[in-house]
């Protein structure tokens, strides 16, 4: 049986950076959700960037997990920005009927960090 992989969460000043580098299975996604909240709790981070550049499929379940991550982080005082969503992923999410409402997004990691800075000011 495959082992659940752990997604690394890096701390940079007041922010947490996550780059998802491989295809997400359900268990990995749920583990990530828990790890992220723990890390916010430990570090007191106020901003989170989740970079999805390498993710080529987001189905309704993964979208729900990501949306939940955003809302849960918000409850803990951290703003999440999703970055690097590929054109094909954006198209399929909307066709699938999933709207990630009230979620901050940016084209890439750099713009995501800039957006966090603007939101803090």
């Amino acid at each position: 049986m495959m082992k659940t992989s752990k997604i690394p969460i890096l701390k940079l000043y007041n922010n947490l950076l996550i780059s998802i580098q491989w295809e997400l299975d359900d268990k990995t996604a749920m583990q990530f959700q828990e790890d992220l909240l723990k890390k916010i709790h430990e570090t007191g981070a106020t901003g989170v960037v989740i970079d999805l550049t390498s993710v080529d499929v987001i189905d309704s379940f993964i979208a729900k997990i990501l949306g939940d991550c955003v809302n849960m982080s918000k409850l803990m005082g951290a703003t999440v920005v999703l970055t690097g969503i590929q054109p094909a992923v954006a198209i399929t999410l909307i066709e699938l009927g999933i709207e990630l409402e009230d979620i901050h997004t940016a084209l890439d990691l750099e713009k995501g960090l800039e957006l966090l800075k603007e939101l803090e000011d």
Binding site: D26, K27, D56, V57, Q86, P87, A88, T92, I98
Partner: protein, 133 residues
């Protein structure tokens, strides 16, 4: 006919396996990046339905040819409880598992053709096709 692939869906990792097989087949057929994502996402939703509602089933992936057209056919088959009200299951936002409820109507939008057959107590077959343009 270029042969058929089949994935048994028993656990969460089988969903990933079905997705990867579908993406591979779509790529081989010459589908572009967006259609590959549509096909892969549709397989993921169908496999997830099998895993969550039917306690196991199969996903078949066929490369098909009809007249001048080439395409990919995905068949999701299970012997689960069946869907009592298909019309309701095809409404946007309908869900019984507390998910996002994008399920079947979303899959229909992602693909070109959509067929469903379900008998209560016997199981469900969903067949979807995407044609190469």
């Amino acid at each position: 006919m270029d042969g058929q692939s089949c994935v048994m869906i028993m656990n969460e990792w089988d969903i990933v396996a079905a997705r990867q097989l579908g993406r591979h087949a779509a790529k081989e057929l010459g589908f572009g990046a967006v259609d590959q994502a549509r096909i892969t996402t549709a397989i993921s939703e169908l496999a997830r339905n099998i895993y969550h509602y039917a306690n196991g089933g199969k996903i078949y992936i066929d490369k098909i040819e009809e007249k001048e057209k080439k395409g990919i056919k995905i068949t999701a088959s299970d012997h689960g409880p069946g869907i009592p009200d298909i019309r309701k299951a095809m409404e946007d936002g309908f869900t019984t598992s507390g998910g996002l409820g994008a399920g079947l109507p979303g899959v229909k939008r992602l693909m070109d053709e959509f067929y469903i057959d379900s008998k209560t107590g016997e199981g469900t077959v969903v067949q979807v096709v995407k044609w190469l343009r």
